[in-house]
């Protein structure tokens, strides 16, 4: 149920963001989601890609500092207060959100949020108990292992 997200450390190097996205694009990899954040003064590019193993190879070849983290994608109603209600469930069980970002472009009255929790497994259990749909790799058309 957890997704493999690639985090690329930009280190505030000029052109790093372009180099990373260009390399992935040239390899024919789609970015299913993308987020850029600032940690301690250094940018981090977080992406869900269509083929994790292939993306790893590309990033290794470019010698970009990166890692693979596990995240959870949850589908919630695209209505005011839905996100807060989901977070309340987690808060009551002392599951913290390390970071999250929205997946743009969804439709049908649903929004998809990508989360990294302090305890991903417990978060999945709690969300499912409250009828919140967890999206797997297949839902995104993501290959997570080597072909």
């Amino acid at each position: 149920m957890k997704l493999k997200q690639i985090s690329i450390f930009l280190e505030n190097s000029p052109g790093r963001l372009y180099a990373a996205t260009q390399a992935l694009g040239e390899a024919g990899l789609n970015l299913r989601s993308l987020s850029i954040s600032d940690i301690s003064g250094f940018g981090v590019l977080r992406v869900l890609v269509s083929d994790v193993a292939r993306a790893r190879q590309v990033i290794m070849a470019k010698q970009l500092p990166a890692r693979v983290d596990e995240v959870v994608a949850a589908e919630i109603d695209d209505t005011p207060g839905s996100l807060a209600r989901a977070l309340k469930v987690l808060m009551e069980s002392k599951v913290n959100v390390d970071y999250m970002y929205a997946l743009a472009g969804t439709s049908s009255g649903k929004a998809v949020m990508v989360f990294c929790f302090s305890d991903n497994d417990l978060a999945i259990k709690l969300l499912q108990e409250h009828k919140i749909k967890i999206l797997d790799a297949e839902s995104f058309g993501i290959l997570e292992g080597p072909v």
Binding site: A53, R56, Q57, M60, Q63, A66, V68, G145, P146
Partner: protein, 313 residues
């Protein structure tokens, strides 16, 4: 050491640079099946024919069994033991790629410089599958598949992360020793890592920034003072974090570096080759552990920053 029943037959080495080349050559010479893996095809071609050529402290040539540019091939045809010899900076991605490798009787060894490399592996693979080695040889790549061993101070050391894997670690030590890469099992690997890392942290980045060999750094009173300051800072951080360096570590360190010879450390080689270095796992970790105990590390902060400034963007 009591003889272990664990006898691995198939090995893989990730990283076809000088360190990986040395491990692959010794294992191949010992008659074991060895797969050499690197993203750079040019580094792999000579390892098959005519073979990896070592000269200097050790002199022989040995051919590996097969090569691959794709780590995923190791999942499809798994060896018993994988040695990771690449720069520590690549470790998170490699660890992720190896998640499918883990199984009974299979082990991954961090055979690298730097602090906590084994912990990075264990995040993805679990403690039971991971081991950590500490090696002591200096090597220079003369050309792909041709490596000069400036020095080779045996023995090397190996320890499992999970006590359940102790017998396997001992078995791997036996194999390495039989191949000529004398390795002993230990239960003090973390202290050994810190002993080595303080030495690496005081010399390697200074060489990288100054473009000087170890001998040149030592013979220059200005740069030697910087080395001395880095040694003392590293010792303080280690001791504040309760890592044991031994009561005589400072004179040992001074004596060691004074006898290091006119050698280019790997960090200088990386800068010259326009490669990313592993400064974050060496000086960067000393900085991190210093912060954990409230100990400022200005020399390490400075030298890390200067090395990062020289790294390719």
């Amino acid at each position: 050491m009591e003889k272990s029943d664990y006898r691995p037959k198939k090995f893989a080495v990730i990283g076809a640079g000088p360190v990986g080349g040395i491990v692959a050559a010794f294992l191949s010479r010992g008659g074991y099946e060895v797969t050499l893996c690197d993203i750079v095809p040019a580094l792999l071609t000579p390892a098959l024919a005519p073979g990896i050529l070592l000269e200097g402290a050790d002199n022989f040539q040995a051919r590996v069994t097969r090569t691959t540019t794709n780590i995923d091939d190791l999942i499809n045809d798994p060896p018993d033991v994988i040695f990771i010899t690449v720069k520590a900076t690549a470790l998170p991605l490699i660890a992720s790629a190896l998640e499918g490798f883990v199984g009974p009787g299979r082990y991954v060894i961090s055979w690298q410089n730097g602090i906590d490399t084994e912990l990075e592996l264990a995040k993805h693979l679990g403690n039971k599958a991971v081991m950590r080695g500490v090696v002591n040889f200096g090597c220079v790549p003369l050309s792909p598949g041709h490596i000069r061993l400036a020095f080779h101070n045996r023995p090397h050391y190996l320890q499992e992360l999970d006590p359940e894997s102790k017998a396997a670690a001992e078995g791997i030590c036996q194999v390495l020793t039989e191949c000529g890469l004398d390795t002993l099992h230990t239960d003090q690997i973390t202290d050994m890592v810190w002993r080595k890392t303080v030495l690496n942290a005081c010399m390697n980045p200074i060489c990288a920034v100054a473009g000087m060999t170890m001998g040149e750094i030592i013979n220059d009173p200005v740069t030697f003072n910087l080395v001395d300051a880095l040694i003392k800072e590293g010792i303080a951080v280690a001791r504040f974090n309760e890592f044991s360096l031994g009561s005589n570590y400072y004179p040992y360190a001074i004596n060691y570096i004074k006898n290091a010879g006119n050698h280019k450390p790997s960090m200088l080689q990386d800068i010259e080759a326009k490669r990313r270095t592993e400064v974050d796992f060496i000086n960067g970790k000393i900085i991190k552990y210093g912060k954990q105990v409230g100990l400022p590390t200005p020399y390490n902060e400075m030298i890390r920053g200067l090395v990062k400034a020289l790294e390719p963007k």
